[in-house]
Amino acid sequence: MSAGLTTAHSVVEPGRLSKRIATIVVVLYAVLTLLPLGWIFLTSLKSPPDSISYPPKVVFQPTIEGYCNLFTTRSRQTADYIKSLPPPSGSCEQIARDRNMVVVGTSNYAPRFLNSLIIAFGSTFCAVTLGTLAAYGFSRFKVPLADDLLFFILSTRMMPPIAVAIPIYLMYRELGLSDTKVGMILLYTAVNVSLAVWLLKGFIDEIPREYEEAAMIDGYTRLQAFRKVVLPQAATGIAATAIFCLIFAWNEYAFAVLLTSGEAQTAPPFIPIIIGEGGQDWPAVAAGTTLFLIPILVFTVLLRKHLLRGITFGAVRK
């Protein structure tokens, strides 16, 4: 081998030039996708006038006003009335009074956010659980018409889910599932389970049966062998699938608008509502969006190791 020509360890590794090009492309892409997110974050720290100033401000005095407005409801009062009040109890109150307003209550953002958490994680849990069991069944047993069933499962993804919006709307109204968390969990589970089955079947297919057979000879029942031997080895695939399911359920907007309005409303349809309340409060919208990104970010970072391996569809398992 001629030394010094390349740093690649093996012929399948890309050379230095292609690595450099790849890096540039990745960095460009990252900047492109991160730019709007960064702008949203900056906006969330601006005052409302700063947020709509033209030309846009990059240097500004940061304030938590957006976050205050996100979590509170306020009403406009006369300056005299505000002067007659006792000193403000917190910085949000202070900010509100500076704009001739008083805080009258908490906004719906927190409960909507909680709804999002419950519905997204709940449906992810259901989809991944069902998906794992179904995938295991398809992978290990002779299921009659297995190929047709698998195709049928996949075919549920072939149209945009919103195409069935009206039947589902009517069905849900009839069944009393409209605007309930259970209804939303069921709906998102139904959409995600097909993806889960297909992804997980690939992972489980790759786990040699010999492990379960060994466990069954070692005195475990099939179910016990599944838990002790298959699940730990499918962890990578399960994590990757969970992230995909969670991202869908977390971001889903159309059904959430259609089917929820109060009790079970999630954060995505709530955020645009902020825009409508008393002028366009962009910092509050940006604050809502920024906070909305956090759970998925945390979840993805926590499972990142699995995800990176998972996206290669088990090719580099071990």
Partner: protein, 341 residues
């Protein structure tokens, strides 16, 4: 430990008859080795005994109890697999403890620890107990796999080429170890191998399988000295038995019906001599030096013989040799043995 009986067992995969009408009794404490070429149905036989495959025909009894319809867990057998033997997500210790931790068994943890440590000591893997199963060499993995079978005392140990991925030195060490353990425990073992040294040294009895059928079963000596067919004869002996058409040795006194003569090294007397002085005349093609012995390749007509020879026999490439046969084996046109005289 228990007696294991297979009676007329058959198993097909689609059109492939993996095991056909196989009857075999493994006595309590016996070490039976199955020999056969790849695809002969050896693994399938073990899997049938373990309960991993359901037979289409016949019955299987372990310790006098019919287990044909029972799941693997109920049969109290252990299996050392040909591959994928260890749970990759567990440590070596946990791998060894796995069978003892089965919910059905409920062995107390201190006792598990004691058993695992003693088995690890036996197989010399004590210092690897904390390793992940994937962080072992092939030989160490294989020993852990054997260890996992040894932690409990099953009715029968099923072993599918357990030593195949080891280097020669370790293999012979473990072979001795395995034999010692078997005698010490009085274990009943059904063992599959391609390695005839293993078969000869370990087995109480050897069963030769061809295309799912048990062709012959008997003590290693019986199989070696008294094979029922050319096929069985070619399974044992190194270098393999030489099969020559009788037409090449017209002067040989052959029994009626024989068409082929089978000669192992010990059946051959080779000396340098002029043509026409022995039963057969041949020519040394080449000599392979193995160290303590030589492989002599001799061409006879259009055939070639391979035999062992002393390094100081003085024979060399190009020499003309006279070959005599001493009580060779005879086979008929179908390959079946024809008894001499």
């Amino acid at each position: 430990m228990a007696e294991v009986v297979l009676e007329g067992v058959g198993k097909s995969f689609g059109a492939v008859k993996a095991v056909a009408d196989l009857s075999l009794t493994i006595a309590d404490g016996e070490f039976v080795v199955l020999l056969g070429p790849t695809g002969a149905g050896k693994t399938t036989t073990l899997r049938l005994v373990a309960g991993l495959e359901k037979p289409e025909a016949g019955r299987i009894a372990i310790g006098g109890r019919d287990v044909t319809r029972e799941p693997p867990a109920a049969r109290n057998v252990t299996f050392v697999f040909q591959q994928y033997s260890l749970y990759p997500h567990l440590s070596v210790y946990d791998n060894l403890a796995f069978p003892l931790r089965s919910p059905a068994r409920r062995v107390p943890e201190p006792q598990i620890e004691e058993t695992v440590r003693s088995v690890a000591r036996l197989l010399r893997i004590e210092d690897k107990l904390k390793n992940r199963a994937t962080q072992l060499s092939g030989g160490q993995m294989q020993r852990v796999a054997i260890g996992r079978a040894l932690v409990r005392s099953p009715s029968i140990y099923l072993m599918d080429e357990p030593l195949s991925s080891l280097d020669a030195k370790l293999r012979s060490e473990l072979r001795v170890e395995l034999k010692r353990i078997q005698e010490q425990l009085g274990a009943t073992i059904l063992y599959v191998t391609h390695d005839q040294t293993e078969a000869m040294t370990l087995a109480t009895r050897i069963g030769v399988i061809e295309q799912g059928r048990l062709i012959q079963i008997g003590s290693p000596r019986e199989i070696y000295e008294n094979p029922v067919s050319a096929y069985v004869a070619s399974r044992l002996g190194s270098p393999g038995i030489n099969l020559l058409p009788l037409a090449l040795a017209p002067t040989l006194a052959a029994p009626h019906g024989a068409t082929t003569v089978g000669a192992r090294t010990e059946h051959l007397r080779i000396r340098r001599a002029a043509a026409g002085t022995g039963a057969v005349t041949g020519q040394v093609n080449w000599v392979e030096h193995l160290g303590d012995q030589n492989h002599l390749h001799v061409s006879v007509g259009d055939r070639s013989l391979v035999t062992l020879s002393d390094p100081d026999s003085g024979l060399d490439r190009g020499d003309t040799v006279a070959i005599d046969f001493v009580r060779p084996l005879f086979f008929d046109a179908a390959g079946a043995r024809v008894q001499a005289g």
